[in-house]
């Protein structure tokens, strides 16, 4: 087992829930509320130095009982060490976890994809929009186990929606806010835009990197 687990236990106590080794790779389960704090510690502690975020993804099991898992695959480029950190999100509560974009810009699109495919919300993400599916996609979250392989809507309904689609819907709210072309938007999108419901694209000058 990766010695980092012991250091984590010393530093965070009960926030480190359990750890196991699978196929020679260490997996550590942490408290979902403290994910960012723990990952920041792993990144910034010189002895650990997990500076590279390889991947962020999520897992849902076929059995409906176990919680969803958010998976962070970490690596220390200098030490050559790898660690997989998981946070469990019970299905009966809000699927929310802190974003790690402040630590790694790499998490930006990875978290957007998890949000898109699993419906997990990342708090403080600067631009949490769907990544692969389109903004007005209404069928739900495709990688959830309750999502049928062929989609929720019938083929006829999918065709009907495609033909009835408003081409403006293919621009994101952020771009339309750039263009100030809000007047021919569907009213619900315009209202959301005016309320500022979704995140905004950062201004060019403000894009600082951690």
């Amino acid at each position: 087992m990766n010695p980092t687990v012991e250091s984590l236990r010393r530093a965070f106590g009960t926030k480190i829930e359990r750890a196991l080794v699978s196929c020679g790779q260490t997996v550590v389960y942490v408290d979902r509320v403290s994910v960012r704090e723990i990952l920041r510690w792993l990144k910034e502690t010189p002895e650990e130095d997990y500076d590279f975020l390889v991947d962020v993804t999520a897992v849902e099991y076929r059995d409906p009982e176990p919680p969803l898992e958010v998976v962070y695959q970490l690596r220390s480029l200098k030490r050559g060490a790898e660690l997989r950190v998981k946070a469990e999100l019970p299905k009966d509560r809000a699927l929310e976890v802190d974003s790690v974009v402040p630590l790694w810009r790499a998490a930006d699109w990875l978290e957007r994809e998890v949000y898109d495919m699993f419906g997990i919300t990342f708090r403080d993400h600067p631009d949490l929009r769907r990544l692969l599916m389109w903004e007005t996609y209404a069928e739900g979250y495709p990688l959830r186990k309750d999502f049928p392989l062929r989609g929720r809507f019938s083929r006829a309904e999918q065709v009907r929606q495609a033909l009835a689609a408003n081409p403006e819907a293919h621009y994101s709210l952020e771009e339309l806010s750039i263009a100030q072309r809000q007047y021919d938007l569907p009213s619900d999108m315009r209202e959301r835009l005016e309320r500022g419901e979704r995140g905004t694209v950062p201004e060019p000058g403000r894009r600082d990197d951690g």
Partner: protein, 425 residues
């Protein structure tokens, strides 16, 4: 001039003013005359059907004159739900899906997937299989880089390298076709072995390729590397420092061009890569030019690796001697009761993987290609995740392109070397 306002240009039609001079008359707006371009930012849509976006990538670009102020990439036009499909398939049935992710290097994808499943199931592969997989990975890298080199040169305005590189790529594709029977949908590997051994004459043909390919590469090198136009279009364009490259999760040639000497083949060796003698080129400035140099050198190193692999190619069995995972030969399955049972169980029930999970990464042409499997003990994975190198590399495009000219955005986008099948999956 006050603060700049961003509008889309209204559609305009041509007309004439009272003196008969031609003017553009905006549609649906009263008044005539040109819009005041200097006072506005322009919003420009590039793609998804634009030849310079290398696939169905769509970029919404905010321009101040010719200077890029902001880029918002849009992806998902090629989304096929591969990860979802994988949850409904046996491990061997997932291999054809990997052909279609990074479709410029399908053999390397096949190898990565088979090795991830083997690590999950604890299967040892034979020596011959290991060496042939190295050959497959390196041919894929050469093909992938050749496509990159040719298309990038075209994007920047040099047409000839495209013809030369695609000729060489055709030769590599002929080898691939002789081996796998396919140019794109190779499905070369199986869990525990390979779909097929190399055909007669393959080794000699590959040696010929390894002899004749580097001189062509040298010609491209002579044409571009010290070419004043090429240098002025690429040096200092889209730079990423090493800290930024690590923070943005770049991998492969993108990461190494920024001065981070990380190569999965060296740092987390698989397929006995640690026993091969090859160098990992590392750039200094992280700009388009360094990415070009890194990929050029990687192709030469791949040739070195292929030559070493061919020298050591051992005889012996190709597939693991495990009747639970490797299909018996057809003659045995038809004549021998036990073989028939194994055949039946594999085809009907698949191969069960133990409960567990594995993340396995290979270095393919684009960067670190990772496969993450979670198994609940059945013959189909609970979760199959592809860690796509192109996705993370292209996510840094807005950062790289801001403040550059629009023409440089095309060069930067080309230098990332994306393949949309992998980004959208």
């Amino acid at each position: 001039m006050g603060e700049k306002r961003t509008v889309e240009l209204d559609l305009a039609t041509t007309g004439a003013d009272a003196a008969g001079r031609p003017v553009r008359v905006p549609l649906g707006v009263s008044g005539t005359g040109e819009p005041d371009l200097a006072a506005e930012h322009m919003l420009l849509n590039v793609g998804p059907q634009h030849p310079a976006t290398h696939g169905v990538l769509r970029l919404v670009v905010e321009l101040d004159g010719e200077v890029v102020r902001r880029v918002v990439p849009h992806i998902g036009y090629l989304h096929s739900g591969f990860e979802k499909l994988g949850e409904y398939r046996f491990y061997n049935q997932i291999i054809p899906l990997t052909d279609r992710t990074d479709y410029l290097a399908p053999m390397a994808n096949n190898v990565g997937l088979a090795m991830a499943a083997e690590q999950l199931m604890g299967i040892e592969i034979t020596e011959r299989c290991k060496v042939l997989r190295v050959v497959a990975c390196e041919i894929s890298r050469i093909i992938s880089h050749l496509v990159w080199l040719g298309t990038t040169a075209i994007d920047i305005g040099a047409f000839t390298p495209f013809l030369w590189t695609f000729q060489e790529r055709e030769k590599a594709y002929n080898l691939q076709e002789a081996w796998t029977g396919a140019r794109l949908t190779t499905s070369l590997t199986r869990v525990g072995g390979m779909m097929a051994d190399v055909p007669d004459g393959f080794v000699e043909a590959l040696r010929t390729f390894c002899r004749e390919f580097p001189p062509v590469l040298d010609e491209v090198d002579r044409l571009l590397t010290r070419n004043a136009i090429w240098i002025s279009r690429t040096q200092g364009i889209g730079p990423m420092t090493s800290e930024e490259a690590v923070n943005y999760g770049l991998s492969g040639p993108m990461l190494r061009a920024s001065g981070v000497p990380y190569d999965v083949r060296k740092d987390r060796p698989y397929l006995d890569y640690e026993t091969y003698d090859f160098d990992v080129p590392v750039g200094e400035h992280g700009d388009v030019y360094d990415r070009y140099l890194v990929r050029m050198e990687e192709m030469r190193q791949s040739v070195r690796i292929i030559e070493q692999a061919l020298d050591r190619l051992p005889d012996g069995p190709l597939n693991a001697q495990d009747p639970r995972v490797i299909l018996p030969p057809k003659s045995a399955a038809m004549n021998d009761m036990e073989s028939m049972i194994f055949h039946f169980k594999q085809v009907m029930e698949g191969v069960r993987a133990p409960v567990g999970e594995v993340y396995f990464a290979i270095e393919n042409g684009k960067g670190e290609l990772g496969y993450y499997f979670v198994s609940d003990g059945t013959a189909k994975p609970v979760r199959w995740r592809i860690r796509p190198p192109s996705l993370l590399n292209i996510a840094a495009l807005p950062k790289m392109a801001e403040g550059h000219l629009f023409a440089d955005l095309i060069a930067i986008n080309a230098s990332v070397d994306i393949v949309m099948g992998e980004i959208d999956r």
